[in-house]
């Protein structure tokens, strides 16, 4: 079970990142849980200040940008 966390306060970019992450995980056929972290204090505990950001299993993988599904597949592998 992989844990995908999308950090962001709810702007369009965050939604896009969540969609990309979801399609990457689905394409790999892995079991996953996607969580949107929108509380700003919780985002800070990741050390992220530029949103959107993506954390996989608690580790921050992308900050301040929206990687495409292919790139996220690479991060999941």
């Amino acid at each position: 079970m992989r844990k995908l966390q999308v950090l962001g306060t709810g702007c369009p970019k965050c939604a896009k990142l969540a969609a990309n992450a979801e399609s990457a995980a689905k394409a790999l056929g892995i079991e996953y849980e996607l969580v949107k972290v929108t509380d700003i204090n919780e985002i800070m505990t990741f050390g992220v200040m530029m949103t959107p950001a993506l954390a996989i299993d608690g580790e921050v993988k992308a900050v301040g940008k929206v990687p495409d599904a292919e790139t996220i597949k690479g991060m999941l592998a």
Binding site: C11, P12, M44, G47, V48, M49, M50, V63
Partner: protein
């Protein structure tokens, strides 16, 4: 919850359709005013300003490394550098106001601390490319420049004051490491990227070149008067007259085009450049194309266009929707209320404008049509600047988020400083340039 919301929207539309007095001339007139304002923006501000600015915003997010700026706002950075960088960082960082608050929180908790974070929060939303150019174009070059300069200068000051006020309060800083975007290898020398941006910005400067709107009007009876055209329609002109001493009168007069025989712009450097602005802008456009062809890879150009499209999708519906709504509301509000509250340039008017600006939520860039509408209804130039400064920096929703991050006392102090500074700058601007 979501279904309840949808039901609320449907019910609201139903109530409006059922009860609104559509035959009322005031209401139908104000809806027409909304469409007229929308057309004015479409004709005068879209192709020369909004569209090129979208491309620049896209280029900023694609080609400038935002992480490298954030590095100057880290915990170890020098104090003065941090304040200076925080005050101007909005230029390259924030186009969407929703990204400002996480950065504010980050600078406060993990980075350079409360002072620089406050400076960033004050200036960030006001100095992105789109905001600067659209303000200058729609509201006049003086207000546009005053907005950018005022935001930067007073951000610095507000940051320092916040730091001094709370220097003894130990902020509970997170012990986590700042997560930075991985530094990307430079794909071309800095001067090439720099030149590309300079040319794009110059394109925008020239295409938006200021029309002084100072004209000599020749009336049908042969009299010549000097005036400033505030708003031109097909059949009428709103003008302010100059008095004998060359000072602009406060009153706006609506003239019928049929009464005016000729309109001659007053010559000067600004108007000379204005006459050839399309050639200058075109030359810059060609230069940008040449650079793209020689220096940039296909892939980079694709990324750039993609980012531009994203900004467009995000901002244009908000902006034009905002313009329309502003037009409708402007048609409904009686002028005397606006002029009574924020007319002239008293401290009171400036304070009301700052305070309302602090509370009110302006969707990205809609503060500009709103201020434009308010000035047409009699708002003074000083209060207009106050509203532009305090407006995007804070709103009730963002105040609540700020409160969650820094606590009650600091939030109150920041709001107080924002209103006080914006009032002061607006008042000074109104006294000198009003």
């Amino acid at each position: 919850m979501k279904d309840i919301r949808k039901f609320g929207v449907l019910f609201g539309v139903f109530l409006g359709a059922y009860f609104l007095p559509w035959d009322n001339p005031r209401l139908s007139g104000s809806i027409m005013e909304g469409f007229r304002l929308l057309q004015w923006y479409a004709v005068h501000h879209t192709l020369a300003c909004v569209v090129p600015a979208m491309f620049i915003a896209g280029a900023i997010s694609t080609f400038l490394s935002q992480g490298s700026v954030m590095r100057y706002l880290g915990p170890q950075s020098k104090r003065m550098t941090a304040y200076a960088v925080a005050s101007v960082a909005g230029v390259i960082l924030a186009v969407c106001s929703c990204s400002v608050l996480p950065m504010f929180a980050g600078i406060y908790r993990m980075g350079a601390g409360l002072g620089p974070a406050s400076a960033f929060l004050y200036s960030g939303p006001a100095i992105n490319v789109l905001a600067v150019f659209l303000s200058a174009r729609v509201l006049g070059a003086d207000l546009g420049i005053a907005r950018a300069v005022g935001a930067i200068a007073f951000a610095f000051l507000i940051g320092l004051l916040m730091h001094l006020l709370f220097r003894r309060a130990e902020s509970k800083r997170n012990k986590v490491l700042m997560q930075m975007p991985a530094p990307e290898p430079a794909r071309r020398p800095l001067w090439k990227t720099g030149l590309y941006f300079v040319c794009m910005i110059l394109l925008l400067v020239f295409s938006d070149w200021y029309n002084t709107n100072d004209v000599t009007l020749t009336m049908n009876d042969g009299a010549a008067v000097e005036a400033n055209v505030r708003y031109a329609r097909n059949d009428s002109l709103d003008v302010q007259y100059y008095d004998a001493a060359g000072r602009l009168g406060a009153e706006v007069t609506r003239l019928d085009r049929a009464d005016v025989r000729g309109i001659t712009p007053k010559p000067g450097f600004v108007m000379t450049v204005h006459g050839i602005k399309w050639y200058l802008a075109g030359a810059m456009g060609l230069a940008v194309l040449a650079m793209l062809w020689r220096w940039f890879s296909r892939d980079e150009i694709r990324q750039w266009l993609h980012a531009t499209w994203d900004f467009g999708l995000m901002i244009i519906p908000l902006l034009f929707g905002g313009v329309f709504v502003t037009g409708v509301i402007g048609g409904l509000i009686p002028e005397k209320y606006v002029a009574g509250l924020v007319g002239g340039n008293s401290i009171g008017s400036n304070f009301v404008a700052s305070f309302v600006g602090m509370i009110w939520y302006f969707a990205t860039l809609t503060e500009i049509p709103i201020v434009e509408m308010l000035t047409r209804l009699g708002m003074g130039r000083g209060p207009a600047l106050s509203l532009l400064l305090a407006g995007p920096a804070l709103s009730l929703p963002s105040i609540l988020v700020v409160y969650k991050i820094v606590g009650l006392r600091k939030t109150l102090a920041f709001c107080g400083l924002t209103v006080a500074m914006s009032t002061l700058v607006g008042f000074l601007f109104g006294s000198f340039f009003g």
